[in-house]
Symmetry: C2
Amino acid sequence: MGGKLKEDKMSDLEKKSIDPATIKMLKKAQVDGCETIFDRADTMKPCPIGAEGSCCKNCAMGPCRVPAPKKKGETGAEKAKRMGLCGATAETISARNFARMVAAGTASHSDHARGIAEVFLATAKGEVPGFEIKDEQKLYQVAMDFGVEIGDRPVQDIAIDVGHKAIAEFGRQEGETIFVKRAPLKRQEIWRNLGVTPRGIDREVVELMHRTHMGVDQDYKSLLTSAARTALADGWGGSMISTELQDILFGNPVPVYGQINLGVLKKDEVNVVVHGHEPLLPEIMVGVVHDPEIQKAAKAVGAKGVNLVGMCCSANEILMRHGIPVAGNFLQQELAIVTGAVDAMVVDVQCEMQSLAQVAKCYHTKLITTSAKGQN
Amino acid sequence: MGGKLKEDKMSDLEKKSIDPATIKMLKKAQVDGCETIFDRADTMKPCPIGAEGSCCKNCAMGPCRVPAPKKKGETGAEKAKRMGLCGATAETISARNFARMVAAGTASHSDHARGIAEVFLATAKGEVPGFEIKDEQKLYQVAMDFGVEIGDRPVQDIAIDVGHKAIAEFGRQEGETIFVKRAPLKRQEIWRNLGVTPRGIDREVVELMHRTHMGVDQDYKSLLTSAARTALADGWGGSMISTELQDILFGNPVPVYGQINLGVLKKDEVNVVVHGHEPLLPEIMVGVVHDPEIQKAAKAVGAKGVNLVGMCCSANEILMRHGIPVAGNFLQQELAIVTGAVDAMVVDVQCEMQSLAQVAKCYHTKLITTSAKGQN
C-alpha cells in the first residue's frame, strides 16, 4: 500500500470515534494487520429489505421478501403483490421479526436471572464457598414481596424460601409475575386493561415464539401487544429478580468514583479483563485476584501485581460494587486486546464478539471461556 | 388478456399439481380473479443468502449477510471477509437460524400441548361441559408414568393429579422431562452422553433463544446440540403430553375409512370447514353439528343438513376419531374456499394462511377465528 493510501486510511480511522484511545488502537490494529468490527462495518452491505424488517424466514416456504410500500395511495392489486407466500403482509412480517427480537432479549436477560436465582438458592443452602447473603435488609424486603414468612426465622431459611420462590417465577404456569404488584396501582390497571400483565417468564417467551409462527397471530397490533407483555415479563420478572438477588448476594451498590477507558490497563502488571454479562464470574474474580498465591505468581514473572479490569456489562457490576476500573464498552472489546497489554480476557455470556478469538491470536492474549451456555 | 395468453396460463396451471381437483380450482381461481399461494410462489424471488440461512438479524448491528464459501481452498483473508460484524461465521449464523426454527417449532407444538393440559385439568375438575375422561385405561397408564397413585382412588382424582403433573412439565426447572424414561435405556444413555436429554419444555426453548443471541454460544456444534435437546423437549415432552392427554380425553384412535379431497364438500348442504391444529375446536364442532337446532337452521335455508369437514392437522384429529372427511391439505386451504361451496371456515392456530381473509372476501365464505393466541 502506497504512503498516500496509508495516510488516507489513517485519516479515515480518525473519523470512526470521538475517543482518542479508540482511534489510537484502531491505527495500531491497522499497522498490526488485525481486523476489527470497524473494518467489517465498512465492508458489510446491509440488506435493504432485511433492514426494514420485512424479510420472513419463519416457515420453510420462505425466505419471503416483502418490501414496505414505497408510495402513498397504493392500489389493492399492488398491495397484493407485497405478500409472503402465506399472505403475510410487510406489517405482519415486521411485527413478527420485532417480536422475536423481544423474545430473544427476554430469554437472554431472564436466563441470566435464572442463573442468579440458582446460585442464590445454592448460596442460601451454604453450597457456594465464597458467596454469602450480604444484604439482609434487602432479603427481608424481597421476602415480604414474595410472601415468605420472616418472623424470627433464621436468615438462611428465609433465603432458601426466597430462592425457591424466585426460581418458580420462571416456570410459573398460573397467575401473574409477583413483582407486578410493585408497580403503581394505576399502572397495573393500565396493563390489565391492555392485556399485557406478564405471567410466567418462560411461558411468555414460548407463547410469543408460537404466536409469531406462520399461521398463528397475523395481526401486527396483537403481535406487538404480546411482545410488550413478554418485555414486561423480563422487566418486572427476570431483570427485577436478578437485580434484587444480586444486591442481596453481592451488596446494594452505592455511588463510587471509577476510572474508565483503555488507559486503565497497566504497563507493569498482569492485566486481566473480565468481560461479559453476569456478575457471578467477576465477583469471584474480584475475590481471588488479591490472593497471595496469585500475587506471588505475578511477581515471579516480573509484574508488580495483577490488574483486574472490567469490560462491557460485567464491568458495571464490579465498578458499582468494588470500584474496579472499566476498560471499555462493547465496541472496545477487540481494541483492549489490540493494546497488546491484556494477558487474559475471561468471558461468560452475551456481548462477546465471535471475533475475539481471531483478535487474541494476533497478540499474546489468552481468551478464556467459562459458561456452560457457550458449549455442549 | 388475449385468448392465447389465457390458454398458456391455464396450461401452466396444469403443471402445478398432480391432483385434478387442485388444478380445477386453480383454474377457477384464475377465472374468478382470486390470488392464491400458487400465484405468489410464481412471483416471489427467494433471497439467495437467506435461502442458505446465512443472513443474521439476531442483534441490532445487522442485518449481516454472510454468504457461504463458493469455492474450496479459501484463504484466511477471504474467510475473514465472510463474517458478520461481531465476527460470526456463516456456520455460526446458519446454526443459529436453524436453532431458532427449532425453538419456534418446539414453542408452537408444545404451546398446543399446554392448552390441552389446561383443558384436561379443567375437564378432570368437571369444569368443561361436553368433555370427559373417555379412555380410563390410558389414564392409568399415564398416571403410572407420572408417578400418580392409582389404588382405589376415583378416576376424577387421578385425572386431576395427572393434569397438574402434565402442566408442571412445561415449567419444570429441575431434572428431566418425565417421559424420557419411556425411551429404551440404551437410547437414554446415548442422550445423556451427548448432553441432549431434555429438561423443562419452556426452559429449553428459552435457553436456546438465549444461546443463539449475539455473543453467547458461537460454535455451530454446540448450537446444534442444544437445538437437538430442545427438539427432544418437544418430542418427548410437549408432543407426547398432548398425544396422551388427547387420547384420554377424546378416545384412542383406531384405523377408520375416510374420504379425502375437495370433493367431500357437498352441493346441497351447509359446508363447514374446521381448519387448524388443536383437536379441542374440531371435537366441540363434531359434538354440536348434529344438534337438532343447528340441523333445523340448515334445513330452514333449503339445505339438507350441515356437512362438517376438516382441513390440515385439525382434519386428521377428527378423521381418526370420528371418520370426518378431510377437505384437503395445507396447500388446498384457499382452494376449498375457491370452490364457492364453503359457507364457513372455522380456524384456531397454526397453518392458517393470512391470505384466507382475502380469499374469503372473493366468495361468500365466513372466516371465523377462535383462538386467544391470535388476538390481544
